[in-house]
Symmetry: C2
Subunit: 309 residues, 2 copies
């Protein structure tokens, strides 16, 4: 069987990198020949996780068709979030927890998506279904990914299955998931030594909405007011990114992971930012859209925008 690469989305977060490692291990146990790779460097949180569990960082690749004919995707399906040459390979498997869009195949494939908080929860289910034992290190990655995606099980995307997976995987990994999770989130939320340009690109995704190219970035912090002191810096970086990449609109969601609140900064023409205000039923105040209780880009930020645009 020819080798396949397994990878998550561009600008990988902890879930994208962990799920690729978890799913590649599972598929290799089932007889496939796969290698987990990443479409970008790990962020601080993911670095903390990999160090903690003595897990090697997957090789970073920039395109895939030079190496393989077939790939498996985790944690994404939309073309614009995938390898730039994704159209030149066959996607044989997808494991995801997002909407399906801009995704098309010419042949039947394995596709497994569930509306849960984290794709690692779906992979956890797959280990059970195939009766493959979860190694301690893999269990640690699963806990990390689920806590990262659900912000310690507080995000509205969290399901009972995510909770069940965290509890079971934490037992296998031999960790107290709450204490470990807080430490991990804090490690990822220290943004003091990163430039605004780095921060708005670290966990950013592109969306096409009503013919517009949207860029929606999210930063997790533990001190929202400290982060908002850098507002002017972020706005300059967002405007520059729009120009350089032809985005019509850039939204930056700054999320306080301890309080579960988000403040959104917006960069784009008046006609579009006005529609963003309508989407969230709120006016920009000093360039800030304060969204209490909002922590999930997928569930609380993208859907109202999509409904509006």
């Amino acid at each position: 069987m020819a080798k396949e690469l397994v990878f998550g989305h561009q600008n990988p977060d902890t879930d994208a990198i962990s799920a690729a490692i978890e799913y590649s291990y599972l598929q290799n146990q089932l007889g496939y020949d796969t290698e987990a790779v990443a479409l970008g460097e790990p962020n601080k949180e993911t670095e903390f996780v990999l160090n903690y569990f003595h897990q090697e960082m997957p090789r970073v690749v920039h395109n895939v068709h030079d190496e393989v004919d077939a790939v498996m995707l985790v944690d994404h399906n939309e073309k614009q979030q995938s390898a730039p040459d994704i159209d030149q390979v066959t996607v044989t498997h997808v494991v995801d927890h997002h909407r399906i869009a801009n995704f098309q195949t010419s042949a039947p494939l394995y596709y497994r998506a569930e509306p849960v908080g984290c794709v690692s929860t779906v992979v956890w289910k797959l280990y059970h279904e195939h009766q493959i034992e979860i190694p301690k290190k893999i269990a640690g990655l699963m806990v990390s990914a689920i806590i990262s995606d659900t912000l310690l099980l507080k995000s509205p995307t969290t399901t009972d299955t995510d909770r069940q997976a965290v509890v079971e995987a934490a037992q296998i990994a031999g960790i107290d998931y709450e204490a470990y999770g807080l430490e991990m989130l804090k490690a990822g939320a220290d943004i003091s030594d990163q430039t605004a340009a780095e921060l708005i690109d670290a966990d950013a995704k592109s969306f096409e909405m009503g013919g517009n190219q949207f860029r929606i970035a999210q930063i997790n912090v533990v001190d929202l007011s400290a982060a908002l002191k850098r507002q002017a810096e972020f706005e300059t970086a967002m405007a520059q990114s729009c120009q350089a990449n032809s985005y019509n609109l850039f939204l930056l969601a700054i999320t306080n992971v301890l309080d579960s609140d988000t403040t959104v900064l917006v960069s784009g023409p008046e006609a579009l930012t006005a529609k963003v205000e309508v989407a969230f039923g709120k006016k920009l105040d000093q360039g800030q859209l304060s969204l209490p209780g909002v922590v999930s880009r997928k569930k609380q930020i993208v859907p109202p925008l999509q409904a509006q645009f």
Copy 2:
């Protein structure tokens, strides 16, 4: 929980109708409130199956958004094969065994696809995963659907999982699947009392390829030469259907279910039929493209056309 409708594709075959019944029963056991419906009348084979297992035919519906806000799809995902108002409802679940195309959601959903011969095989796996007992009648539908889609496990789409599902389901249903399957296929293959227009519409699917609208129909027969005596009749019906529905090309695959051979008739402009010849590496002979060993539209007819167009 609001009621949802479960249905297969337009021009339903035995798999589309059986899988809707099977999956609706499963989901109801799991706490959903669903009703299996169909997007068209049953064909002869399906009528035989429903009579044999004393299963009531699902209600035929022409659109869905007047009744429900959310639906579950089986055996298809492409918009043009679904309810005409599919864009006006939310798709919460898909169980399928086809490629993914022209399918898009705004929210995460349950999506379960596997490249197996029949979607009822995937549903059979789901019963096992959820540890729901398969009722005798449902087992009979599963056997029927798998035999129908794989032409008695002879199609190249057949996998070991399909074989395993048929054997187990036949035990539950208390039938000899080979004897029963042959009887069922013959019941479906009697085309003597149907008009050409009816026959080319009974199991027909639309595909968009390279900007062209293709219609690809399949008829199962037990006597290929008898069917080909009606070639002129079929060609007239195909040309009329192209005109009435703005199809650029109509392909009719007439498959001998006993010998596993197919003869294709083509209706469309010279420029396109010439490309069909290239796709299959064969010239039309008296308007017929003879394809020995070909039985699967999905695996042996659609892919070469897609590669060509």
